[in-house]
């Protein structure tokens, strides 16, 4: 469904991605793990069009989408839930969700997705008229994910949904990721919490300083001694 071939991305002269290739199949949860500065977020931003690769191609179902501006990529169903719970802090929860559906005009579909999101995240329903910035960290993460869901993504790019959350909430967030996936949305999940990510994912890629170090079945990676040593820390 989504294929990256030999992607090279630069921040000015800093070579951030040094030939990334990966694929995500329809219906999968694929996770991208690695330490700080490995290039995980850069990879997501390259896919979603916020960054443009200098070399390499991104295909969405056979069509090239690298060099498309970000809003067009969103329009094609690749929707990113940005890192650090980037929500519209001064808009209400409801307005935040509505903004997610900005590019859609199927009112019925929007209404049903709105219900779906509020069913997935009952917490948001309780807070519906509150400004996003007054939510707790976990709720903000839910809002960011909910907003991304409102675009009815074909593939959802989640950037560190567990960042800075209490363990109990991390568990909850990952359960919701599984639920979203089981409803038919393909997910590319970037995580530092490798353990949790590999437990929900079908497949995984391990990144290190702009390259893919390892890839494979999530269960295999969980058991891989290199991964265990470097990221899981037993």
């Amino acid at each position: 469904m989504l294929t990256l071939e030999n992607i090279h991305t630069y921040y000015d002269r800093i070579h951030a991605l040094k030939g990334i290739s990966l694929t995500v199949e329809q219906g999968e949860i694929v996770t991208l793990i690695g330490s700080n500065g490995a290039g995980k977020t850069t990879t997501l931003n390259t896919i979603s069009g916020i960054l443009t690769p200098k070399e390499g191609t991104v295909y969405l179902e056979g069509e090239r989408i690298d060099h498309l501006p970000a809003h067009t990529v969103t329009h094609r169903g690749v929707v990113q839930s940005p890192e650090g719970r980037k929500i519209f802090a001064r808009l209400t929860v409801q307005e935040n969700l509505e903004m997610g559906a900005f590019n859609r005009n199927d009112d019925d579909g929007i209404a049903s997705d709105y219900e779906r999101v509020l069913t997935l995240f009952p917490r948001l329903r309780e807070r519906i008229k509150q400004p996003g910035g007054t939510l707790s960290g976990g709720e903000q993460q839910m809002l960011a994910m909910g907003r991304a869901m409102m675009a009815r993504p074909r593939i959802l790019l989640l950037d560190e949904p567990s960042m800075g959350l209490a363990p109990i909430l991390v568990e909850q967030i990952f359960e919701i990721i599984l639920e979203i996936n089981s409803q038919g949305t393909t997910i590319l999940l970037v995580e530092q919490n490798a353990q949790a990510a590999l437990q929900v994912a079908h497949r995984g890629y391990v990144m290190e300083t702009g390259t893919i170090r390892l890839s494979g079945d999530a269960k295999t990676l969980l058991a891989d001694p290199q991964v265990v040593e470097a990221y899981l820390g037993f």
Partner: protein, 575 residues
């Protein structure tokens, strides 16, 4: 009680300031009621924030005490001054505005009486009564306009108060009409300033009435009535009042445009005057081609006489708007990537560039000598002021400005509710996230600049018609600053706020013309106080109010999560 005392002392300081700058001299016979009204507004503002939890009696008592304290202190002060004046002490070198006329206006007696020391105690008592009444009125106003859910509010709000707020502007307008009738002697022969002040206050009160009206039929009906009264105004005001009101409403048009750029889209534009200037000059080029050396020689070369206008006022509107919009896009493109401070500086430069163009492109713009004798707007080929003696040339401009403001306000309201409006809000909040939700940033930004510029162009065109002669100096940085200040004072992102801001910042200074040298200080003070006391503006949009008072919103439930996990928890998490 103690709060009332404090408020009274503050009011006394404010009044002393107003007396020392010579405002009463200027107001003449109307000094007492006008000062009382201003004081009532002051008390209203203070009590409103102080008296949130006060009951009805407590609030009124507070107002009464404040008014009485201010009144007694002011009377003592005036008595002191009057005593000095009667004794022939020279206080003018120290306080140059403390003259017998000033005191006479305050006490509503003849100036001669002051000099001869013949002031009665009754005059002082009346002034005290006025100011005490102001305190009571301020308290009453708070009771009338209280809103919210607090239980104290429900128990203390006076039923039907809303209707008084709604009725107030109409009463004021009726009074203005009465003052304009032949033979009415209230406030003496020179009612110029008092009537202007009343018009400003009445128009402002109209906005509050509109805000107090219930959504739906009631709002529509009141809005319609107010619009009707407003359209009637140019016919009853005199030349001076009309000319002030026309500039106020030209700035309303401009403020509404800037409000789109700054208030909706959050792009701080300090060079907004550029588009105003473009609109004015474009109209001047077509309406007075003879005053531009280049255009007149070009036209002569083409065999067209440059002596008559090329386009009428109405047919020049699209031209002025489109040219301004192009200017907006031209400014927009280079600043697309800039944010915040950098954007402000570049736009500031752009405004100056346009002014310098006007100044130095001597062939085209006639440089500092300006473009002269710009044709007046007509209606089907005739100037309406020629048809009826009730409408002078300035009144006609005022009428056009009201009309233009209405159109611009309608467009702005529709835009705010549109997809584009939401894209602007999202962009203002966070450009990155906006992009991630699928908003075309380039297009959205350029549209904000272009639409904002269009409104300024329209305002500029009318301004050129009003001024008849325009010079580059009419389009200095201060026009941008005025426009920005008025939306800040009124309430960013709010349309009634823009109107109120224009009334306060472009209208009131004209009332205070006589106290010229102090008015800039007065407005600087007003701006600073506003930013501290009410950063969202006087009539803010609902969203803006929420943004700046989010601390008062219900706090999130704290029981659910701790955001920052401790080290131990992290490891144990899911294993």
């Amino acid at each position: 009680m103690k709060k009332g005392l404090n408020t009274g002392l503050t009011a006394f300081a404010v009044l002393t300031y107003l007396i020392l700058i010579g405002l009463p001299t200027r107001l003449e016979g109307a000094a007492q009621p006008v000062l009382a009204l201003l004081l009532a507004l002051f008390f209203f503002a203070v009590l409103r924030s102080q008296g949130k939890e006060m009951g009805r009696g407590e609030l009124l008592q507070s107002g009464l005490v404040a008014g009485l304290v201010a009144g007694l202190l002011v009377v003592a002060e005036i008595g002191f001054f009057v005593g000095l004046l009667a004794d022939g002490v020279k206080i003018q070198p120290v306080f140059d505005k403390v003259v017998p006329l000033n005191m006479a206006a305050l006490l509503n007696v003849r100036a001669g009486a002051i000099i001869n020391g013949e002031t009665s105690l009754l005059a002082y008592a009346i002034l005290t009564a006025y100011l005490t009444g102001a305190g009571l009125l301020g308290g009453l106003l708070v009771l009338f306009t209280r809103s919210g859910t607090a239980s104290t509010v429900r128990s203390t709000r006076i039923p039907g108060g809303r209707w008084l707020v709604i009725l107030l502007p109409f009463l004021l307008f009726a009074f203005i009409y009465y003052l304009g009738l032949d033979g009415v002697k209230t406030f003496g022969n020179d009612k110029n300033i008092v009537r202007l002040l009343l018009v400003l206050v009445a128009t402002g009160a109209g906005l509050f009435a509109l805000a107090a009206a219930k959504e739906g039929v009631e709002k529509l009906a009141i809005g319609g009535l107010l619009a009707g009264v407003l359209l009637f105004l140019p016919f009853v005001l005199n030349q001076f009042q009309n000319s002030v009101m026309s500039i106020v409403f030209i700035f309303v048009m401009m403020g509404l445009g800037l409000n789109i750029v700054v208030g909706y889209a959050g792009l701080l534009d300090l060079g907004y005057v550029a588009f105003f200037a473009i609109g004015a000059y474009v109209y001047a080029f077509v309406a007075a081609p003879f005053s531009s050396p280049y255009i007149s020689s070009l036209l002569t070369g083409m065999g067209i006489s440059p002596d008559s206008p090329l386009l009428g006022y109405w047919s020049a509107i699209p031209l002025a708007m489109i040219t301004a919009a192009i200017g907006g896009v031209l400014l927009g493109i280079p600043v697309l990537r800039l944010r915040g401070d950098y954007l402000a500086i570049v736009t500031l430069g752009f405004g100056e560039i346009i002014r310098l163009f006007m100044l130095n492109l001597g062939d085209l713009t006639n440089g500092p000598r300006g473009l002269l004798q710009i044709a007046q707007p007509t209606l089907f080929g005739v100037a309406p002021s020629a048809l009826t003696s009730h409408l002078d040339a300035q009144g006609w401009i005022f009428l056009l400005a009201i009309f233009g403001s209405a159109v611009v306000a309608f467009v702005a309201i529709r835009l705010n509710d549109s997809r584009l409006g939401r894209a602007w809000v999202a962009m203002r909040e966070d450009e990155d996230v906006a992009q991630a939700t699928g908003i075309h940033l380039v297009q959205t930004k350029l549209l904000a600049f272009a639409i904002g510029a269009t409104f300024a162009g329209l305002a500029g065109q009318l301004y050129a018609a009003r001024q008849i002669n325009i010079f580059p100096e009419n389009f200095s940085l201060f026009v941008s600053i005025d426009a920005l200040a008025l939306i800040i004072v009124g309430g960013m992102g709010s349309i009634p706020g823009v109107v109120l801001g224009a009334l306060a910042l472009k209208g009131l200074p004209e009332v205070l013309r006589g106290v010229d040298e102090y008015r800039i200080v007065a407005f600087a003070t007003l701006l600073i106080v506003m930013m501290i006391v009410r950063p969202e503006g006087i009539l803010p949009s609902a969203r803006r109010r929420r943004e700046l008072h989010s601390a008062e919103a219900p706090p999130p439930d704290e029981s659910d999560v701790s955001d920052k996990p401790t080290d131990g928890q992290l490891e144990g998490g899911r294993a």
